[in-house]
Amino acid sequence: MANFETVEVSTDLLILGGGFSACGAATEAAYWAKKNGLKVVMVDKAAIDRSGAVAMGLSAINQYVGVKDGENTVEDYVRYVRQDLMGISREDLVYNIARHVDSTVHMFEKWGLNIWTDEEGKYVHEGRWQLMINGESYKILIAEAAKNAIADAGGEIIERIFIVDPLMDGNKCVGAVGFSTREDKFYVFKAKAVFAGMGGAVHVFRPRSVGEGFGRSWYPPFNSASTAYFTIQAGAEMTCQEVRFIPVRFKDAYGPVGAWFLLFKSRAISSEGGDYMVVRVDELQNWAPYGLAKPIPANLRNYLGMLDVEAGLGPLYMETDEAIQKLADAYKDDPKAFKKKMKELESEAWEDFLDMTISQAILWASLNVKPEEKHSEIAACEPYFIGSHSGASGAWVSGPEDLDTPYKWGYENMTTVDALFTAGDGSGASSHKFSSGSHTEGRIAGKAAIKYILEKGQEPSVDMAKVEELKKKILAPIDLFETHKGEFTDPEVNTHYVMPRQFLHRLQKIMDEYAGGVTSAFKTSKSLLERGLELMALLSEDSDKQAARDLHELMRVWENTQRMWQAEAHIRSILFREETRWPGYYFRSDTPKMDDENWLCFTNCRWDPGTGEWDMTKKDVWNIPGV
């Protein structure tokens, strides 16, 4: 076996990940830990300043309820999420996040985030729930608060550790194992409670660009289903694994459209000039009641555009020129004010890209795009797994204690595995958390985890023989490469192993062609999914034939395996749900209609670590009374 030193770290609370939910967990948990003399250790595979989905920055906060000023109620937010997810949401979780999220946003502002305000000092809204920000350093600020909180509580942050597997004691999570991506060290973390906040998943499906632009996904390519894999391996029940997310964005560079749709009131049209939201309005009848209420769910908006593309009416365009012209019309009698307004709008439009999708700014500059003169192409991205946005995949977690619901087993945001907590992209059926809500949910979970430790925490009982077994398994790709690399002249073409990039392509090809990816126009069926599962079984067998020549590739190997598990949970869940409920996310051609009678329910799944079998179940949707 590769000669890696084993490093043991013991703590009370272990926080895995460094993005928004993990930073929220750290900030809140550190406060309660300090009060109670507990230790918090945070582990990130990158540098916390620029890790996770907000590494590049963001140009808006997408969840702010505005309770204190009476802008909206928490119940309004619950209704909004119910509607957008076609009736399927954990309203207790959505409620819980929404009632705490304003407090998070106010803290962000104090930390130094510039939230735009108007002449009266009120936040500038992009939409009903969205606030405009100067967000280039958004992640740095959130990380800074988390770092300061952990330092103040005497905790520890360890960067560049890639976490692979959970450590279990029966149905209790007692830690995690992983390795350093900088030195030959294997890490064993022992803890009384574990928070898994390692993000969602990209590159499960084949991206549209497969050459140099392979990494240009909308959500970051370094989010590799680490949380889903970790919770599945622990034996946690998962939910909404079929509810992937497909954003429609500016084509190819995937620049944000929110400012154009919400702030500039722009329309999207087909090549023939028709606004598909108007032309195809009758189609929405088929998706009642959700298709008939406002706002029209994201997946249905996607779907109407997809129908245009299918009918040969592409490309689709964002009418930027028309939108700017309309805004400018208001100033037609005052050329000076018009010039000033145009300058302002131009700056806002470019900041939207430069704060969060720099590639889009480069693409527009390379195409000589002047948005005030000419419209720009938009398209549906490849599918992603991101429970924090308009997708819903994640673990099934316990709900808030003070709500009377069927979803409680003790501690908020604890999975069905004892001592294992998650939030953000890690927890399912609580969509529309975005950055602020994910941080908020992390705070909720961080506090609950400390409460769990105070009430039930025990010294972790770790089976060291199992640890050795995991170490051997996790480092095996290095041994495999070393043993066989010399047999052929090209180390990448070898009969004994597969290199991680090729394995990733194999996974993506299966998902794209059988599970409704871009080249399948997001359509699939029972037969396709069953064939996909056959190929996935062979892929799974070959997953331990992946080889790594260094620590970086070892990380790639395990990222691939994590994605593979997310993929399987996804295929099984789409197969189980015999209807089409989110047609703009995926379309089951053999069950093309929504079936509320049988499927207005959650689709949950669990992989049994004891038997290796998957169990699929339906769970009832509970609505908050009177909402």
Binding site: K35, V67, R160, G213, G215, D252, I358, A361, L363, A365
Partner: protein
């Protein structure tokens, strides 16, 4: 190749225990060729896997030598354009160069407080009751008298 290193300007963050780009890359892409054995030049950094670059420019913004930039993905971006940041302690200046040679310049705020100063509790009053439904700084940080509950 998404992020790239200008050979003449890169000094491998001389004298430091790690290079800025290696430290910050969220996808673990940047590597320092310490002795030149990888073929990139002694003490020169390089992107080991441009296909996995997100073009987030975290490396470009942090490079103390301004030795890094991004060239748009060559499988779909026409050549000749660039977006170059100059990031300070409270704002960022962008120079966007178009394919046709025209230039736009933008300046945006990055933060309103001194670097490092974020107080985790944000100056709000806190409480001691871990069993309450209020997070550490609530209800004050929410601007409310109590955490909302369903009516």
């Amino acid at each position: 190749m998404p992020s790239y290193v200008i050979r003449e300007k890169c000094d491998g963050c001389k004298g430091q225990d790690r290079t800025a780009c290696m430290y910050i890359c969220p996808n673990d892409l940047m590597v320092l060729d310490v002795d030149g054995s990888a073929g990139y030049g002694e003490m020169k950094a390089y992107n080991r896997d441009p296909q996995m670059c997100w073009e987030c420019m975290c490396c470009v913004k942090l490079c103390p030598q301004q030795a890094m930039d991004v060239r748009g993905y060559s499988d779909f971006v026409p050549m000749g354009a660039s977006a170059t940041p100059l990031r300070g302690t409270e704002d960022i200046m962008w120079t966007v160069k178009f394919r046709d040679g025209s230039i736009k310049r933008f300046k945006f705020t990055t933060r309103t407080t001194p670097e490092g100063s974020a107080d985790p509790l944000a100056g709000f009053p806190t409480h001691d009751d871990i069993n309450s439904n209020a997070l550490a700084t609530e209800p004050a940080s929410a601007g409310l008298d109590a955490v909302p509950t369903p009516k």
